[in-house]
């Protein structure tokens, strides 16, 4: 018999694999971001389209060129650079000069990801790390908000977007305030329904809470995201800000806290970044609570209107500690270790 004489394949067990693979997970994250992305382009027009393309292309190109320079196989096919670029774009103000967006994409991948060893080894979420760098570098541009639903948004590109590289942008539209900015500086609360529907001003992709949640639900249903992280963050924020609101009604309501700013986008798509969040069950809980507390503290008492980015970065920073110190009890050790 012929078949019996050909060389056999030698492999170690297990000889079964679950169907899902890393590149598929990453691709599904991109799919989950599609509704948010489409709405962003609908709300902010060409400006959003340009900014998302620029961040994505710059992120992917940076990774590709780095691999080429180091004579490695290009890693862009794992989709992670696309996610980084897309997420970065979604967190930027719509009329940010494109050269800054490109710089952000490069910084995200080069400084926050590749320097640390690439996919799997980055300590901080690359998109947020890149955004933090942009925020520190260009504090004015990154807090100048462009109004949504302008009549000419599909025909006209804001002149600030097209500012020459390295020059200060000039803004043509009157800057609008985000719900959080209005709350912090003018004590005006925005209608929560508007924020759920995405009718407010803000970063490219943070305005529509409903579509972000939809994407999150898709990933949870496919077991490609930890539902615990966003749920615990929401609970922490709601309870904490609820208590404060009860004693001081001048502070924002819990529902305002949940649906404003980058809360949804951050909790659903950034805090859940597998690489930079803890792997242990207890670690995940503490991590989410830390993020929830820190974002509430910054929003209520800090100098900045929004703190989601800093809260998640802080969570990332303590993740190695949480992984180390909050391990599960190993079977057969400790409490139930004895015979009875």
């Amino acid at each position: 018999m012929n078949v019996l004489n050909k060389p056999l394949e030698i492999r170690t067990s297990p000889h079964l694999k679950s169907a899902v693979s890393t590149d598929q997970i990453m691709m599904n994250v991109v799919i989950a971001l599609v509704p948010t992305t489409v709405f962003a382009i609908y709300a902010f027009g060409l400006a959003a389209l340009l900014i998302l393309s620029v961040t994505t292309i710059s992120a992917v190109l940076t990774e590709h060129i780095y691999c080429r320079l180091n004579n490695k196989e290009s890693t862009i096919s794992d989709w992670s650079a696309v996610i980084t670029g897309l997420l970065l774009g979604l967190t930027l103000p719509p009329a940010l000069p494109l050269w800054m967006a490109a710089l952000g994409g490069i910084a995200s991948i080069a400084v926050v990801k590749l320097l640390f060893g690439g996919l799997g080894y980055n300590i901080f979420n690359p998109a947020l790390g890149g955004r933090a760098i942009l925020q520190a570098a260009f504090p004015v541009a990154i807090t100048t908000w462009h109004p949504a639903f302008l009549a000419d948004r599909f025909t006209n590109i804001p002149s600030s977007s097209l500012a020459w590289p390295f020059t200060t942008p000039a803004y043509d539209a009157v800057a609008s305030a985000t719900p959080l900015g209005n709350m912090k500086f003018n004590h005006i609360a925005t209608d929560v329904t508007d924020m759920v529907m995405g009718l407010t001003s803000g970063s490219v992709g943070e305005t529509s809470a409903a579509l972000i949640l939809l994407g999150g639900l898709y990933l949870v249903a496919r077991n490609m995201m930890s539902w615990k992280i966003p749920v615990i963050i929401f609970l922490t924020v709601a309870v904490f800000s609820g208590i404060v609101h009860f004693f001081n009604p001048a502070t924002p309501t819990p529902q305002f806290m949940l649906f404003s700013g980058g809360m949804m986008l951050g909790a659903v798509f950034m805090a859940t970044d597998m690489v930079s969040s803890p792997v242990t069950e207890k670690g995940v809980i503490v991590y989410s609570i830390i993020i929830g507390i820190m974002v509430t503290v910054i929003r209520l008492w800090g100098g900045l209107p929004e703190g989601m980015m800093y809260a998640i970065l802080m969570g990332n920073a303590v993740t190695p500690l949480l992984n180390r110190s909050l391990k599960s009890r190993v079977y057969g050790t400790g409490r139930k270790g004895g015979a009875k």
């Binding site: 180091n70 400084v111 926050v112 590749l114 320097l115 640390f116 060893g117 690439g118 799997g120 080894y121 300590i123 901080f124 790390g129 933090a132 760098i133 925020q135 520190a136 820190m294 503290v297 910054i298 008492w301 800090g302 100098g303 900045l304 703190g307 980015m309 800093y310 809260a311 970065l313 802080m314 920073a317 303590v318 993740t319 190695p320 500690l321 992984n323 180390r324």
Partner: protein
Amino acid sequence: MSESLSYIFINACLVNNFVLAYFLGICPFIGVSGNIGTASRMGGAVTFVMLVSSMCAYGIHTLLVAIDAPFLQLISYIVVIASTVQLVEMIIKKFSPALFRALGIFLPLITTNCAILGLALFQTSKGYNFLESLVYALGAGAGFTIALVIMAGIREDLDIADTPKVVRGTAIVLMVAGLLSLTFMGFAGLGG
């Protein structure tokens, strides 16, 4: 202008973290952050010495003001801090060998830690009273410990990471410190 004690603490610990905003104590931050256990003990030792030297500095300052010799400030601070650390080391060694084993080896290193001298100089220039000085020292020490331990956790992970050869060592630590420093910027305006 008077500042509340809680503000002094939060400011020294988070908003103006000694390591990440003032660049004080960078040498131990880079040198002793390879391991979480060591880092937390070092943090404890630094906090302790900060408290002691903060008290000393307060005393010296009062004395120097009394005899009107501001030009002796620096020289007397450094001499007194150095000898206090030595004294503390001897006392701990004598009375608590366990504590000495935990903190002892770090104490001589701390003498040349600029965070300690910096603390003494800052509390003087800010004109803190005795209690405020103590809280300031406590906050600075806590901030130093937090930064050090977080860094140690990250570095333990980086030890088993595929980092490119050229960034290994101090370069990657500085990059992490830069990102941490950006993260701590989120605390700005707190406690006011």
